[in-house]
């Protein structure tokens, strides 16, 4: 049954009163009746009461039932009204498509930006890796006293495995790259792990199995490997008969014992391993220098553990710290002992990277929040405009009896509908935005795979959408329902002009929008400037026209002598290729992301002195000429610096000035960190950048001739062409082919690319800031536009009067533009102040640029003012088109 009116609500008190009078009426009526039949009034009343029975019980019962009935009725009323409100709201929104679309799009932009960033944060910092009972897993990581995160050596790991009881299982992990020699040779990347690894992470390989204990005992006769599902599908077409057969890795026969399930993509994000192999099998694979497994100095392992059910994390931490203390008992200086960090695995990002990423993400997440604030200000402005238009409608509804609460509920329903639609559109937008982030940021595939929004993100997004829509829609609505009824009903235009208070609110919104967009623009400008500056930094060599080809000999079955000779021969072959200006071979490249450090001591220092931590590069003799690294004193290496001649080194200016301040370093001797023989300094190279273009401190570095300090199986062939990189690429490829046609080339990149890669994070940040800054600017422009347009519409009458009194159109237009520019000016002042405050926080992320770079501030401000002026001018022009006669007649 549809009811158009509502029963008045009954309170508990009212219900009780009504039952009371109902009963009283009954007793009275029955008494009267009995009196008529001839009883005395007293006897009649007594009988009536007796006939009634237990009145207290009836009263209790009736009150109870009535209260239930009342609650039911209220619920029904409420649902009925809600349905009415919904239908009404949908009708209203349909009738105002411009308003609806503007609000939905504006909110959706803000929500989409937030969802995309939240989603990325969620994936990187909160999504646990695909393993069983992840809350029992932890990383054990050493840290130096100044907070650097480090790695373990195999003897360290053995100590932890033997001397702790808090962990049910511990396994070391190391990234290794191997050559698969069967068929077309390929470089594949995976992990060396302990034999208990798969039980530890709770993954059961299928088809096949995990490792048996004997497969991870030193000298095992049967090396085994487990392949990842992705690699197995890619390389073997998902053929289960591969399991149980032998494949050739780095020249050694290894049996494939299993394949991991498809869902298992590793415990670390961004890895996508191809295989897992027990540590005991690794010596057969001849990777890297000798002693990788036994030497206490080769720290290259990370350690993962599953806590035993009896141990707490704190106990485990304490126990590990005791073992760590024993490990480093020999270090006399307590400041040089490392501490140990035991943290639960919360996502595919390890604690060290987490620590680095968290503040960056905090900063990144602030940006879309600011965009959302700008968007909300716009939405509020749109609602204000609309409430002005709707004032009369609301007044009419109040006049015919709608309560203020009911009107507010009605408006709330509209806001909620808009919020929900905007949320849905926002989620769609976040997909698009995530796509952009994936492309700009070149994210690893396993991260991309988990970037799908999950329930948490979805809930938060809708929470934001609903509360933003409601809050910013309701504030102006409340103001509208508070207004007096009569003036709004009066049929003159004046009531339609926004009130003074509301006008001030709108202006405040516009000012804050301008301020925030300016802050975003300036920050974006600072980042872009910093990026450009970083790319023009002199790395200390000339990266143009040069390519580096990475090769690895470990899979070729070479003898150690053959490996040691390889680099010198390759250098000569490459240099002889057509179009080549110079060629050299190096173990590692500067700015490549990997580096090797040793402690350098002077000849005069005590043998156990700490020495200077120095980057060590092993290179062939043409290295300095090929990458054009200036040698300022002495000489570079020559062919006579060979295994039988006295050992020599080139140091950089920084190391020379630390070891021998004010002295001539040439001819001075340092102790070889590897075998304590003496090495003579024959040259000094100019300082350069080694780890990052933005490195603040000048690092020490030294170069050793590979003829005296052999490189190992892995190297980089560097070729400089006379013109362009195409010749260099062809020459590098031809040279490697000439040396060994079966040698796979892992990667070939220009040195310019290496340098660009070192700033890829900054580039992604700058791109994101620029995009969000532009979005905020567009929203702010839209806000200004809306305010001026609304002003023009509301003051048509006034404009008409002025123009009929002789005002020129240009005066009128100018007045409106001025209004817009005044708001912009105030916003600019606030925005500059805001940027100054924010950029102080950013100073550490900015390279080569002060946080108050005047040029950036000025150009961002000019851009903003220009856009603002345009946004004010377009609607103001409409004022000039007002026909005085029509304007005066309107309303």
């Amino acid at each position: 049954m549809k009811r158009f009116f509502r029963f008045p609500r009954r309170t508990a008190r009212r219900i009780a009163d009504e039952a009371e009078s109902e009963f009283r009426f009954h007793i009275d009526a029955r008494t009267d009746r009995l009196v008529v039949q001839g009883m005395s009034p007293a006897a009649a009343r007594a009988q009536a009461i007796a006939e009634f029975g237990d009145m207290d019980d009836a009263r209790r019962y009736v009150n109870n039932v009535d209260r239930q009935a009342e609650a039911r009725r209220r619920r029904r009323d409420y649902m009925g009204e809600l349905a009415q409100d919904l239908a009404y709201a949908v009708r209203k929104l349909k009738n105002a498509p411009t308003f609806t679309i503007s609000v939905v799009l504006t909110l959706a932009i803000g929500i989409g930006a937030n969802t995309a960033v939240l989603n990325l944060m969620n994936a990187v910092l909160l999504k646990p890796p695909p393993v069983a009972n992840v809350d029992e897993l932890s990383w054990l990581t050493p840290r130096t006293r100044d907070g650097q995160w480090g790695a373990w050596s195999m003897p360290d790991v053995m100590m932890f495995r033997e001397q702790t009881t808090s962990w049910a299982a511990l396994s070391a992990m190391a990234n290794i790259t191997l050559t698969l020699n069967d068929g077309e040779p390929a470089r594949i990347a995976g992990y060396a792990v302990n034999g208990n690894f798969f039980e530890l992470v709770g993954v059961r390989p299928s088809p096949g199995r995990g490792f048996f204990a004997y497969e991870d005992t030193i000298g095992t006769p049967s090396p085994a490997v487990v392949l990842s599902h992705a690699f197995w599908s890619r390389r073997f077409g998902g053929d289960s008969s591969v399991v149980g057969t032998e494949i050739t890795l780095n020249g050694a026969h290894v049996r494939v014992v299993g394949v991991t399930p498809e869902w298992y993509t590793g415990v670390r994000l961004g890895d996508a391993p191809d295989f897992w192999i027990p540590f005991a099998a690794v010596p057969r694979l001849h990777i890297g220098r000798d002693g990788l497994y036994t030497a206490a100095q080769s720290r290259w392992l990370r350690v993962i553990g599953r806590l035993s059910p009896r141990a707490s994390l704190a106990q485990a931490q304490a126990e590990a710290a005791v073992v760590q203390g024993r490990l480093e008992a020999w270090i006399t200086d307590p400041a040089r002992r490392r501490t140990i960090d035991v943290s639960r695995i919360r996502s595919g990002v390890e604690p060290g990277a987490r620590e680095r990423l968290a503040p960056v993400f905090a900063l990144i997440s602030l940006v879309p929040v600011l965009v959302l604030v700008v968007a909300c200000a716009n939405v509020a402005n749109l609602f204000i405009s609309r409430s002005v238009v709707r004032q009369r409608e609301l007044a009419v509804r109040r006049a015919i009896g709608a309560s203020r609460g009911r009107l507010v509920r009605q408006l709330l329903t509209e806001c909620a509908i808009l919020g929900v639609i905007a949320g849905a559109v926002g989620v769609a937008m976040s997909y698009a935005l995530t796509g952009v982030i994936v492309r700009v940021g070149t994210l690893p595939p396993d991260l991309v795979a988990i970037l799908r929004p999950d329930g948490r993100v979805f809930l938060i997004t809708f929470g934001i959408a609903l509360s933003a829509g409601t809050l910013f829609g309701l504030l102006p609505a409340l103001a509208a329902t508070r207004s007096e009824i009569t003036p709004a009903l009066r049929n003159d235009g004046t009531a339609l002009a926004p009130g003074r208070g509301r006008h001030r609110l709108r202006n405040a919104f516009v000012v804050s929008q301008v301020a925030i967009s300016l802050a975003l623009l300036i920050t974006a400008g600072l980042f872009v400037g910093s990026l450009r500056k970083a790319l023009t930094v002199d790395p200390g060599y000339d990266p143009h026209n040069t390519v580096a080809a990475e090769y690895n000999l470990s899979g070729q079955g070479y003898t150690n002598e053959r490996i040691a000779r390889f680099d010198t021969e390759l250098e000569a072959v490459a240099a002889a290729q057509p179009g080549v200006e110079a060629a050299a071979v190096a173990e590692l490249l500067p700015l490549s992301g990997s580096s090797s450090s040793t402690n350098v001591r002077r000849e005069s220092d005590a043998p156990d002195a700490d020495g200077i931590l120095t980057l060590e590069y092993r290179v062939t003799s043409a290295y300095f000429a090929t990458i054009r690294m200036p040698v300022t004193q002495g000489r570079t290496f020559t062919a006579t610096d060979n295994a039988s001649s006295p050992r020599v080194a080139v140091v950089n200016e920084r190391l020379a000035s630390i070891l021998w301040p004010g002295e001539n370093p040439l001819g001075k001797r340092i102790r070889s960190p590897h075998d304590s023989t003496l090495v003579t300094v024959v040259g000094v190279a100019a300082n350069g950048k080694y780890r990052s273009l933005a490195e603040a401190q000048q690092l020490s570095a030294m170069w050793l001739p590979s003829a005296q300090f052999p490189m190992g199986a892995q190297g980089e062939l560097i070729v400089r062409a006379r013109a362009g990189t195409a010749d260099a690429v062809a020459a590098a490829r031809a040279a490697l082919k000439a040396m060994d046609p079966t040698l796979p080339v892992a990667s070939m990149r220009t040195l310019d690319d290496y340098i660009a890669n070192t700033v890829s994070a900054q580039r992604a940040g700058a791109a994101m800031l620029a995009v969000f800054g532009a979005v905020a600017l567009a929203l702010a422009a839209f806000g200004i536009f809306a305010v001026i347009a609304q002003g023009v519409a509301a003051r048509r009458r006034e404009i008409g009067i002025r123009m009929s009194l002789g005002a020129r159109t240009t005066d009128v237009v100018r007045a409106f533009v001025r209004e817009g520019l005044v708001l912009t000016a105030i916003g600019t002042v606030v925005g500059v102040a805001l940027s100054l405050a924010v950029s102080k926080l950013l100073a550490s992320l900015l390279f080569g640029l002060t946080a108050t770079d005047a040029l950036t501030f000025a150009s961002a401000t000019i851009a903003l003012v220009a856009v603002a002026a345009l946004a004010a001018f377009l609607p103001a022009r409409r004022a000039a088109r007002v026909d005085p006669l029509i304007a005066l007649r309107s309303d």
Binding site: F23, Y61, V62, V65
Partner: protein
């Protein structure tokens, strides 16, 4: 509604009340007098139970109540059958007749 259960008697009371109201809207006292007259006093119903039934039927939507003036112009609560109440009455009547027939068959001499 286990709390309200008075066995078959409650159903009896409901059907009597619905029947009384099907003739014309009435206040509780009117229903009470009607039952007294119609049964010639052979079924004695406590008024307390009657009012419980009325309010329960109101809650369940079988009747609606409104305040009005009684014959001698006093304020009284009048109950009126709703269409749902009318349907309920028909169903209850049918059930009652079935019940009576069943009991009659049991009691009939073999």
């Amino acid at each position: 509604m286990a709390r309200d259960s008075n066995g078959p008697l409650q159903g009896t009371l409901d059907v009597l009340v619905l029947r009384a109201l099907s003739l014309q809207p009435s206040h509780g006292y009117g229903v009470s007098e009607w039952i007294r007259t119609r049964t010639g006093g052979s079924i004695v119903i406590e008024d307390a139970a009657l009012y419980k039934a009325l309010h329960r039927l109101e809650r369940d939507g079988a009747v609606v109540a409104e305040w009005g003036a009684s014959d001698n112009n006093r304020k009284a609560r009048f109950y009126r059958l709703t269409p749902a109440g009318r349907r309920l009455l028909r169903a209850e009547e049918a059930a009652w007749h079935d019940y009576v027939a069943a009991v009659a068959r049991v009691l009939a001499p073999a």
